[in-house]
């Protein structure tokens, strides 16, 4: 428990005494992660096979169909 508190304090002190550039890049990181995981992933990049097929067998069959349909 004492160790955990020490680790927690290490991080909180680190973040609170961060220089200006550190705060700026953290802002960039947070905006970037929000754009990537909340906007891009949900609205623009659904996993095609996971979204359209329920089981792995269905996904295999779909890919097999695509791979063999060359005419």
């Amino acid at each position: 428990m004492k160790q955990l508190r020490k680790v927690f304090r290490f991080y909180t002190e680190g973040f609170s005494s961060m220089p200006k550039w550190g705060k700026q890049v953290w802002l960039v990181i947070l905006i970037k992660l929000f754009v990537m995981f909340v906007i891009l992933k949900i609205f623009f990049f659904p996993n095609f096979l996971k979204t359209n097929f329920k089981t792995d067998a269905d996904r295999s069959n779909h890919v097999l169909e695509n791979l063999t349909d060359i005419n």
Binding site: G14, W21, V25, V28, I29, F45, L67
Partner: protein, 525 residues
């Protein structure tokens, strides 16, 4: 499905992947190389106890932190694209890529949350040696993280250690060690990381040159240049060596790519290396717009044969030999490969139909046949050729491959000279007098990025039309979605990544202008 594919969809999907991969690669090499340089600088601080080395380490650590933070997670976008735009491909390779990418994810997570935190927050809180260990582990961790991605890429260039299971429509790993220690993957990892070290060393020298030109922080700049020049020189020599072994791997496993980046149309014994060349706009073969002759070329005899096979007189196949085949040298024609590929697809189709019709015994027998080592070696290894209707489409863009390769090589040679000059001028204590060199050092930074990007163009454009060498062409890998949707996300990415790059450059420039700080605040020694 394949025949009905919209070419615009394939091209936009490729353009989107290329854009995101190239932007991602702007951030990665600096992280890989600068991590090691910082660790060396901090080692000097711990060994000598000289506070100047601590000041130097802290400044470059700031550069590392900015680059790392802006670039972190940009690679995840590539994984989004796999799932949306390249679903056939991602399913096909899922079993192979799962293990290396999972290891990469876990490694990156532990590295980012633990050692980087100690690196940045741990000054004066943990012992010097513990801090140094964290710095080294961050640098090594970043490079090991790259290893798994490059193992996956190496597998795409030379698939090994797997068998295709028609039941799951997936490549299944039979040997993790074959995948990990495939010569293609090993060479790719060593060449990519060593070239990243070169880029980072140039970055350090270029930025330090700016300080000297401004007459600021001279001691800091000179010490930084000495470390970066020695490290960069050794890394650039090693990059030449790994590039050489990489080229040998390519000549063996991807002869078409090798012929394309050398602009070799007709193979020969004792083939010469085109050191410099200018490709004309006229075609040597009217049926293929990729085959353009040289307007001008400077060729060194026999070198290409030696480079490819370590034999001055060995036969190096040209593009035409690979398309038409060459009985004398045992090279199978593209037409023969296409017919074997079509047979493999037909067999898979028969399996699919038997399974669908509930003919269990027939399906099982076909599955056994497809998975047999003999079928995998003689037919399934040409599976991707079954999608090819015109053998000429097997030739990648020769001008793009040729120029990218030669830009990379020429710049690589320049970098060796650059490091030597930087070291010589600095050790003689006269670097401040060579203002032209200092200005050139700043301009060498974008050249290092150009060489690094050109390397990836050689690797990725050169292997077209394959997404997985010989097994899956790009057109069979793509998901049938709207080309318009891909176009929208292409521009979206272009905006996001450009914004990130501008943010990185602005934040970095501001920190460079502030300069290295003494423990009490900014200092201009």
């Amino acid at each position: 499905m394949i025949e009905g594919l919209d070419l615009a969809l394939v091209n936009w999907s490729r353009a989107q992947f290329a854009l995101t991969a190239m932007y991602h690669w702007i951030f990665v090499p600096l992280t890989l190389g600068l991590g090691i340089i910082i660790a060396i600088m901090e080692t000097l601080y711990v060994k000598t106890g000289n506070p100047e080395w601590k000041r130097i380490t802290k400044f470059w650590m700031t550069m590392f932190g900015i680059n790392f933070a802006i670039g972190v997670a940009t690679g995840i976008i590539l994984e989004f694209e796999f799932g949306t735009n390249w679903s056939n491909y991602s399913w096909f390779v899922g079993d192979i890529f799962g293990a290396p990418l999972a290891i990469e994810g876990i490694l990156a997570f532990f590295m980012e949350s633990t050692f980087i935190a100690i690196m940045f927050f741990g000054w004066n809180k943990v012992s010097k040696k513990f801090h140094l260990t964290a710095t080294w582990l961050t640098a090594i961790g970043a490079n090991l993280s790259a290893l798994w991605i490059l193992v996956a890429n190496g597998w795409m260039q030379k698939p090994v250690g797997m068998v295709f299971n028609p039941e799951t429509a997936r490549m299944e790993m039979t040997s993790f060690w074959d995948v990990l220690f495939s010569p293609m993957a090993v060479h790719k990892f060593l060449h990519t990381t060593s070239s990243s070290f070169v880029l980072a060393a140039i970055f350090v020298i270029g930025v330090s040159a700016w300080f000297i030109l401004k007459g600021r922080d001279i001691v800091f700049a000179r010490k930084s240049i000495v470390v970066a020049a020695i490290f960069g020189f050794l890394a650039s020599i090693y990059t030449v060596a790994t590039g050489d072994s990489s080229a040998r791997s390519v000549a063996h496993d991807q002869p078409m790519k090798f012929a394309a980046f050398e602009g070799l149309y007709n193979g020969s014994e004792g083939a010469g290396l085109v050191a410099l060349g200018l490709i004309s706009s006229s075609e040597t073969d009217p049926s293929n717009e990729n085959l353009k002759d040289f307007t001008l070329k400077i060729e060194i005899p026999n070198i290409l044969s030696y480079m490819a096979f370590m034999d001055w007189d060995a036969f190096v196949p040209g593009i035409n030999d690979l398309i038409r085949g060459n009985e004398k040298y045992g090279i199978m024609s593209a037409t023969e490969k296409i017919s074997r590929g079509k047979l493999a697809i037909e067999k898979l189709k028969a399996f699919k139909e038997a399974k669908k019709a509930g003919m269990v015994a027939q399906a099982d027998s076909l599955k056994t046949e497809i998975m047999s080592p003999d079928f995998q070696k003689n037919y399934f290894s040409y599976f991707g050729y079954g999608y090819i209707s015109d053998p000429h489409t097997l030739v990648p863009s020769v001008p793009l491959s040729f120029y990218s390769f030669h830009i990379m090589v020429v710049l690589g040679m320049y970098f060796i000279l650059f490091f030597l000059m930087a070291l010589l001028y600095t050790l003689k204590g006269k670097i401040h007098k060579h203002r032209l060199f200092l200005k050139a050092a700043i301009w060498t930074i974008p050249l290092a990025y150009l060489a690094s990007q050109a390397g990836w163009v050689v690797a990725e454009v050169g292997r077209q039309p394959w997404v997985i060498q010989d097994l899956m062409p790009t057109m069979a890998a793509v998901t049938k979605i709207s080309a318009g949707a891909v176009q929208v996300t292409f521009w979206l990415f272009a905006i996001i990544f450009t914004t990130l790059l501008i943010a990185e450059i602005k934040i970095m420039m501001r920190q460079i202008k502030i300069g290295p700080k003494s423990e009490g605040g900014p200092s201009h020694v």
